[in-house]
Amino acid sequence: MWYGEFGGQFVPETLMEPLRELEKAYDRLKKDKRFLRELHWYLRTWAGRPTPLYYAERLSRKVGGAKIYLKREDLLHGGAHKTNNALGQALLAKFMGKKRLIAETGAGQHGVATAMVGALLGMKVTVYMGAEDMKRQSMNVFRMRLLGAEVIPVKQGSRTLKDAINEALRDWVASFQDSHYLIGSVVGPHPYPAMVRDFQSVIGTEVKEQIQKMEGKLPDIIVACVGGGSNAMGIFYPFIGERTKLIGVEAAGKGLKMGMHAATLNAGEKGVFHGMLSYFLQNEDGQIRETHSISAGLDYPGVGPEHAYLKSIGRAEYVAIEDSEALNAFRELSRVEGIIPALESSHALAYAMKLAAEMDRDEIIVVNLSGRGDKDLDIVGGAL
């Protein structure tokens, strides 16, 4: 439940019992052979795992330094890493006898993943999405509805991811008896941060095997973007005991000095929100601040407690990339490698390109390309 001083279960009393049941079910099923076999079967046959680890040779040459590898989660069914977790939790919910899935979504990728697994497993799906995000990710709204999910616009607060989480929690307090709240990132009360990390760890586990085969050694650096932090936690976790340097890239938006950003670990303060003790962007009165990032998936004022912990012990480093730098990386990868990355992943890529230029040619850097960028074409069209 705790990662150093971070984590916990700071929730209204009604949720304590559903969380206890969830924890119990997860502790049992994560060791259950049938559950694990079923999960891996779906991951392989339906979702397309393992995803490739791709050596981006042209990009590496252009940058002129370390070898840049891309973990191609953009090729996972649904177009982002979110499917790993959605599938795991939905199967768990089904084993628990739940009939309905609730999800929040920012960029819409987690909503789409939940809608997909809901359709696959015959479960009803309700997705809460900020009204602002619905505007900037309208394609994903259409996809979710096509997949049979109900998408409810959230008009409170900043109308983005944090408000969608508030609304999903309000739904769950009333509906926990037949519904599972399928949180999309390594945030929220225990057991969510651990459970989501475990379901996403398949990314790092595959990278470890793949890079050994391709290079005969582990990477020097792994870079991943961090909003709530699920794709980063998924690729970091199997490497925590290794010597590989781990770097999380947050959204600096229009610049950290401008205050228009979502760089929680770079500019936030410790706090308690959404069920966890972690870092949050907040004012001096403890009111949660509104955030800004060009990528809806990073537009969250908090961060998973395990990231807060990895930062506190110095095991991972957290940096920030501005909107404009992410856009450059977005364009660069599209033109040089023929891969359109998600704006979220473009943050990781932008920082990796900076780093690689300073590194030796025999060094290896792995970027988690957490999603594909088709969903972002409208936004980018306006910004390029």
Binding site: P12, E13, Q282, D285, G286, Q287, I288
Partner: protein, 248 residues
């Protein structure tokens, strides 16, 4: 902490402004066994639409935490009615729990209720509250097991606050059967005073709950809705609503 059969009205501090909050407190005081005053939070996730909006109105009007202490101090000048401060945990955590309690104590507040601080994480909080002679109020839900209910009772030195139903705060037509089941369990298990809240908006709700053994009944959204509609001039409407609800 309050006489049996009490109404415990809830309003949000700073909605629509701090001057009005003091006036409203003084009006509802005439009919209240205790008063619950909410500290507005940007993301009140346990609250329904009515109270959410009140928090947002207060913040938009420039609410500052310091002002709650001032208004409590003013109120305390001519009332002895117990004042319970309700908050989400983050504003307290950010302010520093110890500093917060010192301020709260100085300003004449009697008890604290923190919505998202369950007893399992409240040990330090309880110790500090004791140090500053502040009472504590914890929530119990229809799905709270007996053993946990007993622990909540022990930690709640003010009173135990029973949540009447599954869901957020907000006026409802009927009191759920969950409320009465929980009330019966609580009567057997708890030694402290018991209040029931969430969804209570009518006199018949109050009467039924008190008949079934509640010592107090919390009414929030029904009052906050009046403030939403009438703003600064909600005094008379608040008095009328409190008169309607009051059974003492």
């Amino acid at each position: 902490m309050f006489p049996s059969g009490s109404i415990i009205p809830y309003i949000t501090a700073g909605d629509p402004d701090m001057g009005s909050t003091l006036k409203f407190l003084q009006v509802i005081d005439d009919y209240a066994g205790a008063i619950e005053l909410g500290i507005p939070f940007s993301d009140p996730m346990a609250d329904g639409a009515t109270i959410q909006l009140s928090h947002h109105r207060a913040l938009k009007a420039g609410f500052k935490l310091e002002r709650v202490f001032q208004v409590a101090r003013e109120f305390r000048k001519d009332s002895e009615t117990p004042l319970v401060l309700m908050s989400y945990y983050n504003p307290i955590y950010r302010f520093g729990p110890e500093k917060f309690m010192e301020k709260v104590h100085e300003s004449g507040v009697d008890a604290l209720l923190v919505v998202d601080l369950p007893i399992t994480h409240a040990q330090e909080f309880l110790e500090k509250a004791r140090e500053f002679s502040l009472k504590t109020v914890f929530l119990a839900s229809p799905n709270t097991p007996d053993e946990r209910l007993a622990a909540i009772d022990k930690a709640s030195t003010g009173f135990v606050y029973l949540i009447s139903t599954y869901g957020t705060t907000g006026a409802r037509d009927k009191i759920s059967s969950h409320a009465f089941d929980l009330l019966r369990r609580a009567r057997k298990i708890c030694r402290r005073k018991i209040a029931v809240g969430f969804g209570v908006s009518r006199r018949e709700h109050v009467e039924n709950l008190i008949k079934e053994g509640a010592d107090g009944v919390v009414v929030g959204s029904a009052l906050v809705a009046l403030i939403e509609n009438l703003g600064k001039s909600a005094e008379d409407a608040l008095r009328k609503k409190m008169m309607e609800l009051s059974v003492l």
